[in-house]
């Protein structure tokens, strides 16, 4: 069974204090790993897709990296507006579904709070 574990569950940072969020995954075959941001009362907002180990993607203060077992979301010099819950999800190849499974399997998220 495909599983995603995110850590820590919650993280408090001071503005400007860089840190990383972890996403460990177990899948039969990784088709893609996705990072989303979710603000309270809203739907998840897409950030990044990573497909293979060694891949990195950046957007403003965020950088996502991928290994064969985990992904990291690095936040450099965060600002209060970066406060949100960050969700990691995997999409897997499935032997029972031609072309692979379309469903995303999500972790429970990391709630990030950045204090001014």
């Amino acid at each position: 069974e495909d599983q995603v574990t995110q850590s820590p569950e919650a993280l408090r940072l001071q503005e400007g204090e860089s840190s990383s969020l972890n996403c460990s995954y177990t899948v039969s075959g990784l088709r893609g790993l996705f990072w989303y941001r979710q603000d309270p009362g809203k739907g998840p907002e897409f950030l990044f897709t990573l497909y293979s180990a060694g891949e990195e993607k950046e957007k403003e203060r965020l950088k996502a990296t991928l290994t064969k077992k985990e992904s990291f979301l690095h936040i450099t010099a965060p600002k209060p507006e970066d406060s949100a819950t960050y969700l990691c999800a995997v999409q897997a190849w499935s032997p029972s579904v031609e072309g692979g499974s379309e469903k995303l399997v999500f972790g429970k998220g990391t709630k990030l709070t950045v204090n001014p």
Binding site: F46, T49, A89, V97, E102, K103, F106, K108
Partner: protein, 113 residues
Amino acid sequence: GAGVSQSPSNKVTEKGKDVELRCDPISGHTALYWYRQSLGQGLEFLIYFQGNSAPDKSGLPSDRFSAERTGGSVSTLTIQRTQQEDSAVYLCASSLGLARTQYFGPGTRLLVL
């Protein structure tokens, strides 16, 4: 352009009643997905559509749950004889096609009393 829209945004119902939740995908998106987000739980996959067909219904928790999609666009998720454990946020997503990025709507918050 317009994103995924869902209605209603909030729904309060009594145990045993039926509810219908609606999703309008991004224009041109052929794939549509339903997920559920419960307190303390991650997002759970329910069902997805490619066009009007549903190749994977494996996440529907019971036969009280059903979904349909018409005209390759709007989808409706129906929950019959609602139970208190059905209380959750129901999220819809759409994508340009299979194996493409899924974009989420704002969700419908369902409370079953």
